[in-house]
């Protein structure tokens, strides 16, 4: 409020220009004009700062939104990959069962399981010194 009162005398007179000017009054102290300029300049700076901050906030929100959209896409991708992994795990489990492998080996390569009665076990002993 104080600044408004101080600045009041510097406002231009609303009287018509045609009227003879009174005797020129002594100009206000020259030191007050730079103060006003500084005030205006300060306001501009503040406006600029606030504008930058607002732009920053908007930019940040846009970035967050983009990231969220990206995250959603990645989530979908993860779900697809998980589904694919599960399908592959199922296939692997089906094919890795040893009875199935044995059956395939018998059919394709003529595997004959060893007869336990004819299996000989070799008992190894450490070499005597």
């Amino acid at each position: 409020m104080a600044s408004w009162s101080d600045a009041a005398p510097s406002l231009p007179s609303p009287q018509p220009r045609s009227r003879p000017r009174p005797r020129p009054r002594p100009k206000p102290a020259p030191r007050r004009r730079p103060q006003a300029r500084r005030g205006v300049a300060g306001g501009v700076v503040w406006i600029a700062i606030v504008a930058v901050l607002l732009a920053g906030v908007v930019a940040l929100n846009v970035a967050v939104l983009r990231l969220n959209v990206q995250l959603d896409k990645l989530d979908t991708q993860r779900a697809h990959l998980r589904a694919e992994k599960q399908a592959l795990a199922s296939q692997l489990a089906m094919t890795a069962a040893s009875p199935r492998i044995q059956l395939q080996a018998q059919k394709q390569f003529g595997l004959v399981p060893a007869n336990p009665a004819e299996t000989t076990y070799v008992r190894l002993r450490p070499r005597s010194r």
Binding site: L65, N68, R82, A117, R123
Partner: protein
């Protein structure tokens, strides 16, 4: 204008602004304070969606790490009949793509009383993807997990199955449902005006179910199932059951029932085929139960293996006359021979010497009439008459395994206790759940190591020269006992045509690695445990001994073993 007037105008303007801001502030406070909750709810219902994230169901592995039950992604297809524009064309397209009945689909699509109908739950993802590409109006898709059993009929009675809502309905899937199911998560998806997700707020993350590792070995299980299937076919039997047990740890390596079924198509299978008979069903054990009578008499030091008895062909007990299976004259038999020749008269003589009261105690001590505590749902404790319900003839039939009903797992663990130097170990199917360490199963001593070793020697004689010669495995010593029991007749008494043939054995008898029980229900052509079940035992044992740990070294003296000197 004077400075005073200017100031007044400025103050007026200021007042207007203050008033405007004040009103705005009050409105904001009203909207965001007092009405915040209701408007918040309204807003969230318009631009946010609460989603339940299903937890992945844990996988069931065998002891080698092979998946026995696994979760698989499937697509559920639903429809909003009010949005469907051309039900006739759409139903034909859907039915073709998903292999459904077009008439049924048409009925569902034309029922405009509902805003949501399932077209097909857990459909094949490839079929659903093709259908989704058609972009039919009113049709929706969402992913769901489907339980899949990649080994099909392997151990299906044991593993059980999970239903359409992914909850266990039978077997281990049911008993371990809490651990396998995990906990579903929740998240809120914030959407923009076009319905695209712009933010995801996770309120509760999902926790996937724990994986379960079984003691089962799929190779041993598959072989047991094959042998049982062949045995059932050979003897035109009603069903057959086999258990392969590690006597030292109580770990079940195989638990098979024939005929089996594919767990992936459980709704089309009779319930009777889905039962794990090894745990839930009881049978009269017959002569395999004589082990209890002999163990009691030996432990009470009433007899030794070489104690002899003069035994006639038949014996009178109360109002009944019981005779041996094969006609013979009066003979002198040792306790060992009573077991190896499976003499009913001998076993009853031993039981009478033991007394009714002590026999009841020994039956209980072996675990008959009690749950073994195996980690499988629906276990039966068997049927054992309490002592006060015994009739005068009970001492004539219970010692030979009649008038008493046991489960196959009870019988297998009783023989496992003898193989394990007299220590009974609780049989179990689950090795561990998730990352938790496996727990040591309960154990208790039943008989002394001396009695156990004497019983093992007697059981070896059963296979070497008694009723169980067809259970012999070349290169290995086998100890075991045959059992043949007539089934109770619905009209009273026992059937003359329906029998249960069984064999329980231990291999290798010198250093027991496996206890194998085989029981065949209602075989035709032959009824004897030594003829029907013993060869099946030998088949299973032969394979398992060759497979286990790369081959279990033979312990039979007839086996030629080469000695060699190791060279580095």
């Amino acid at each position: 204008m004077s400075a005073k007037a200017s100031n007044r105008r400025i103050r007026l303007l200021l007042g207007v602004f203050v008033l405007a801001f004040g009103l705005t502030f009050l409105r904001a406070a009203w909207l965001q304070g007092v009405r915040a909750a209701s408007f918040g709810r309204l807003a969230s219902s318009q631009h946010s969606e609460d989603v339940v994230i299903p937890a992945a169901r844990g996988t069931i592995y065998d002891r080698t790490g092979l998946q026995l039950a696994i979760g698989e992604q499937a697509q559920t297809v639903y429809a909003d009949p009010r949005q469907v524009t051309d039900p006739k064309t759409e139903s034909t397209t859907i039915a073709q793509a998903l292999k459904l009945d077009p008439n049924q689909v048409y009925q569902e699509l034309t029922d405009r009383t509902h805003g949501f109908v399932y077209v097909k739950r857990k459909a094949d993802p490839a079929q659903a993807a093709k259908l989704e590409k058609r972009g039919l109006p009113g049709l929706g898709f969402y992913a769901e997990e489907r339980r899949f059993y990649p080994q099909f009929s392997l151990a299906s009675q044991l593993i059980g199955y999970a239903g359409v809502d992914n909850h266990g309905l039978a077997g281990l899937e049911l008993s371990l449902d809490k651990q396998l199911a995990g906990r579903p998560g929740r998240e809120r998806i914030v959407k923009d005006a076009s319905g695209q997700a712009i933010d995801t707020v996770v309120s509760q993350p999902e926790r996937d179910g724990s994986d379960v590792y079984l003691t089962l070995d799929h190779t041993i299980q598959a072989n047991a199932q094959t042998v049982l299937r062949d045995t059932v076919a050979k003897w035109h039997a009603k069903s057959a059951t086999a258990i392969v047990l590690d006597p030292a740890t109580g770990a079940v390596r195989a638990m098979a029932t024939a005929p089996g079924f594919d767990a992936n198509s459980y709704p089309q299978v009779w319930r009777v085929l889905q039962r794990n008979r090894a745990v839930t069903d009881t049978y009269e054990p017959g002569s395999t139960f004589k082990l209890v009578t002999v163990a009691g008499a030996l432990s009470e030091r009433l007899v030794s293996p070489s104690t002899t008895f003069t035994l006639p062909y038949y014996i009178h007990v109360a109002d009944r006359t019981i005779h041996d299976a094969e006609p013979r004259g009066t003979e002198t038999m040792s306790v060992s021979q009573i077991l190896s020749r499976s003499s009913n008269v001998g076993a009853i003589t031993l039981a009478e010497k033991l007394s009714q009261h002590r026999l009841v105690q020994w039956i209980s001590r072996f675990g008959f009439g009690h749950l073994t505590g195996i980690d499988f749902p629906g276990e039966s404790p068997g049927i054992v008459l309490p002592e006060d319900k015994w009739s005068g003839s009970s001492i004539g039939n219970i010692p030979i395994g009649q008038g008493i009903a046991v489960t196959p797992i009870q019988m297998a663990s009783a023989y496992a206790a003898i193989a394990n130097r007299g220590v009974w170990v609780r049989p179990h199917l689950v090795e561990r759940i998730g990352a938790s360490a496996s727990t040591r199963p309960a154990r208790r001593r039943i008989v002394s190591p001396w009695v156990a070793s004497e019983l093992m020697a007697m059981l070896k004689n059963v296979v070497a020269e008694g009723t169980g010669t067809l259970a012999a495995v070349p290169g290995y010593q086998v100890a075991g006992k045959t059992g043949t029991a007539a089934k109770p007749d619905p009209q009273g008494g026992y059937s003359d045509t329906r029998y249960v043939a069984s064999f329980v054995g231990v291999v290798p008898a010198s250093r027991p690695r496996l206890v194998i029980l085989v029981s065949v229900d209602e075989p035709r052509g032959a009824i004897w445990g030594g003829v029907v079940a013993a060869p099946a035992f030998a088949e299973i044992a032969k394979f398992d001994l060759q497979y286990l740990d790369g081959g279990v070294p033979p312990d039979a003296p007839t086996t030629a073993t080469a000695s060699a000197t190791a060279t580095p």
